[in-house]
């Protein structure tokens, strides 16, 4: 039974930003539950404003709701005021379309994008009155699954989930609902359902694996029975599906409050620190005509005045110029703006940015990532100092006053000299700007800390130690000072926790549960994050965080080895070796490095695994 709207209205008199919890927005899809064979709640473990900005969930919402007999509804994490109001009033977490309690759905699918949102998963299960541990759930309880980049190391969350969907979910989620429908019809036991899900390609069911300690102490999942795969290969869609052109229109400001069109999936650059670049292979470009048509429909349906061309590297789409030109031709006179979220550091990109920002020259962002050429070669960031200087010159000459630069600290082999090069580059760019534009030039510099992520060539590397990172943050502060330079850097504790969870094994789940029980909530939000709670939780669980954060032996299995991103371990090791030697690897549109994707996914998708379709040479 849905929750009465009057009951929700009474709750909302007690909270900040009630629009987060009211639902019923334009284009929200409401279906008659009586006519439906299987129901899915799409859950994002953060507040509405962030969850509504996630394109992946919009794709799944559209894919499921296109099916006449299935439905998908949305739910986000209530902020603490709403969470306590709900608990006081005894009202469970509910969906924003039909206000059904979340535990009334057949499946709850969580999107895992960021490790610091994991405690919110537990909050949401708790507020839904659903047992936190998969082992404690019974026949009547919903199936709790997760997808997103977090599913590439599912182990730290393994005890909480019935299954993980690894890779792209547009087709896999519908296949899951097919099985759930059959299970409901035939009144299967939960065990049987969970086993059936494990037979859908791309699904990892942790209950079918037991863990053994590797020599370094890490818990490695192993199939319990013969026939269960030792590694689950990710799903992909061989070509990109339709663009959702009727997204739900929020009634309040959200983070990405604009139309979004995914123009390309995957990236050919091969940056060695970048998890997205490894796990979203192969490259699939959306044809220009399809993009242009989607933009027309989206703008007509939404009334947005801005469209974002989403991609890991927007200027790498072979038709980007045509996409921008056609969009401006169709909508430029209506004041529609274009945003290109991820630009290469080159003059072409500046030209592109100029053509889309006729009026608003807000700021251009580039990511050299490291200060010295040597270190950029280590991470295979194919940007030279000359590229940066030329790009900055072009940007200043064409009228920009503000440039944002992203760098990482704590990279493998990094020395203080490399870091001082960041300060020099920043100062040089500012001087360049002042020569061309004058005193109003601003260079904003964001210093993040490198986290060695699973499924990347640098996955075996240690997290740099706190003292080193903080000393290097200080080095830059001291050497890149003055008017027109704005520095920001990441909080050590947040980096530490992100690294810990992303490299965690199944044992770490105890610490996540413990930290949540001790009050950890919204860890990605500074006002909520309490690192001391995490330290206490780790201690209470007898876990030594340094074990996860140090260097990992090459020859030993990894906790996330149970998941295959389609990229071979041999390739990752080759790239690691080249990295430490400082040897670069060319863009894989130009030269194939035999990452393994054509073999692993080619077997599953034989017709489409043509090198041309995936931009493989």
């Amino acid at each position: 039974m849905p929750i009465d709207r009057e009951t929700i209205r009474r709750l909302l008199t007690r909270v900040q930003r009630p629009a987060r919890y009211a639902g019923g927005e334009l284009h929200a899809v409401t279906k008659d539950w009586e006519q439906i064979d299987a129901t899915l709640a799409l859950a994002y473990p953060d507040v509405y404003e962030i969850g509504m900005s996630n394109l992946g969930l919009q794709l799944l919402y559209d894919a499921v709701n296109q099916h006449r007999n299935y439905l998908a509804e949305r739910v986000y994490t209530p902020w603490d005021d709403m969470a306590s109001a709900m608990e006081d009033a005894g009202i469970p977490l509910y969906s924003l379309e039909t206000y059904h309690p979340i535990d009334a759905f057949d499946v709850i699918g969580f999107s895992l994008q960021h490790e610091l949102t994991y405690t919110n998963v537990l909050t949401m299960l708790h507020l839904s009155h659903i047992p936190l541990l998969a082992a404690d759930r019974h026949n009547g309880d919903p199936l709790i699954i997760a997808g997103g980049s977090g599913a590439y190391n599912p182990e730290p969350l393994a005890p909480f989930f019935d299954a993980f969907c690894v890779g792209e979910g547009e087709e896999a989620i519908v296949e899951l609902l097919d099985i759930v429908h059959r299970a409901k019809d035939q009144r299967w036991e939960r065990n049987r359902l969970v086993r059936a899900i494990a037979s859908i390609p791309g699904y990892y069911v942790p209950a079918l694996y037991e863990v053994d300690a590797a020599p370094n102490g890490m818990l490695i999942p192993q199939p319990i029975e013969e026939g269960t795969p030792s590694a689950v290969l990710k799903r992909i869609v061989p070509r990109l599906g339709p663009v959702p052109t009727k997204p739900v229109m929020p009634n309040m400001r959200v983070v990405h409050d604009r139309a979004m069109v995914e123009i390309q999936r995957g990236c050919s650059r091969g940056c060695r620190f970048c998890q997205a670049g490894m796990i979203y292979r192969p490259i699939r470009e959306r044809p220009v005509d399809e993009i242009v048509q989607a933009v027309d429909e989206l703008l007509g349906n939404t009334g947005y005045d801005e469209v974002s061309f989403v991609s890991l590297s927007s200027s790498d789409h072979s038709g980007i110029q045509a996409i921008v030109e056609k969009t401006l031709e169709h909508h430029g006179d209506d004041g529609v703006g274009i945003s290109l979220p991820s630009l290469r550091t080159d003059a072409f990109s500046v030209g592109l940015a100029e053509s889309v920002q006729q009026t608003r020259k807000s700021g251009l962002t580039f990511a050299p990532e490291a200060g010295s050429q040597r270190l950029r070669d280590v991470i295979n960031k194919g940007v030279t100092e000359q590229d940066l200087v030329e790009t900055a010159t072009a940007a200043f000459q064409r009228g920009w006053n503000r440039i944002k630069l992203y760098f990482m600290l704590g990279l493998p082999t990094e020395t203080d000299e490399d870091v001082l090069e960041i300060a020099r580059l920043v100062t040089d760019v500012r001087r360049l700007g002042r020569e061309i534009r004058g005193r109003r030039v601003q260079v904003s510099v964001t210093l993040s800390t490198f986290v060695p992520k699973p499924h990347t060539p640098l996955q075996w590397q240690p997290l740099a130690d706190q003292a080193t990172v903080q000393r290097r943050q200080r080095l830059i502060r001291e050497n890149a000072q003055g008017r027109g330079i704005k520095l920001s850097w990441s909080d050590w504790d947040a980096t530490w926790l992100e690294a810990l969870i992303s490299r965690g094994d199944r044992r770490l789940a105890n610490a996540i549960l413990r930290a949540w029980q001790m009050g950890a909530r919204f860890d990605a939000w500074q006002e909520h994050f309490r690192p001391e709670v995490w330290r206490e939780a780790l201690e209470a669980c007898n876990l030594d965080p340094t074990r996860y954060l140090g260097e990992w032996p090459l020859e030993q299995p990894l906790p996330w080895g149970v998941i295959s991103a389609g990229v071979s371990e041999a390739f990752l090791q080759r790239e690691r070796k080249r990295s430490l030697e400082g040897t670069t690897s060319a863009d894989c549109r130009e030269h194939c490095h035999a990452c393994g994707i054509l073999t692993t996914l080619g077997e599953r998708y034989p017709e489409s695994a043509q090198r041309a379709a995936w931009e493989c040479p």
Binding site: A19, N251, D333, G335
Partner: protein, 227 residues
């Protein structure tokens, strides 16, 4: 359609606000209207300048959580349209919770709607265990007072004002404990607006679950000057 900067016509659209739109702030409401007008493809006039935006003005900001039957927005159009066709056209593209009831042409040179706001009439519903007689008594006592000095935070600064001046009518309508309905006619506009919650607070009537519905905005003929 291209961005027009000369206004040829001004229309005043009256609309109701219901669930879930009652939770949109005035800034949200501005964005919602811009998008609605774009979806409807109306030839709205834009402001000139560095960052052009649609020319439109709300009569008054509806506080978050209030529902209403009588909100108004003036929209400046770069090409003439038939006002009689607007309500149906806008309704077709409106988000749930927005009901367009009327559209009339207004002289382009007429005063801004905010300048013409005088009063707002509210139906207020509250939850309290007090009896109707007890509530009546408190309301009467409040109306007896000559002045009700109060403080309100505005743009980060505390400002003192006299709430009594903002109350024109205040009456108990009906109810059975714990649900009671009140009528309030309060000043509204650029020289101060009374808030139903403040009135109840000043009457020292503890309540929970305040529900406010705006029934009518009272317009003046010309701009009001502060006395």
């Amino acid at each position: 359609m291209s961005m027009l900067t000369m206004a040829e016509q001004r229309v005043r659209v009256t609309f109701a606000v219901r669930w879930p739109l009652q939770y949109a702030s005035v800034l949200d409401m501005g964005r919602l209207w811009e998008r609605l007008l774009r979806r409807a493809g109306l030839p709205v006039a834009y402001t000139q300048g560095y960052n052009p935006h649609m020319r439109m003005q709300f009569a008054d900001a509806l506080p978050v959580g209030y529902t209403s039957d009588c909100e108004a927005i003036d929209i400046y159009l770069g090409e003439r349209v038939a006002p009689s066709e607007l309500p149906a056209l806008l309704q077709r593209y409106a988000p749930p919770g927005l009901r367009v009831s009327d559209a009339v042409e207004v002289d382009l040179k007429a005063k801004a709607p905010q300048a013409l706001m005088r009063e707002a009439i509210y139906r207020v519903s509250v939850h309290t265990e007090a009896t109707p007689a007890a509530i009546r008594e408190k309301l009467a006592a409040l109306l007896e007072r000559e002045s009700i000095p109060r403080e309100r935070k505005r743009r980060g600064r505390l400002r003192t004002y006299d709430l009594r001046e903002l109350i024109y009518e205040l009456a108990y309508l009906s109810g059975v404990p714990p649900r009671h309905h009140l009528h309030m006619r309060l000043r509204c506009g650029s020289h101060g607006s009374g808030r139903p919650a403040d009135v109840l607070d000043a009457a020292e009537q503890p309540i929970s679950d305040l529900r406010v519905h705006r029934i009518q905005l009272v317009w003046g003929q010309q701009e009001e000057h502060p006395s």
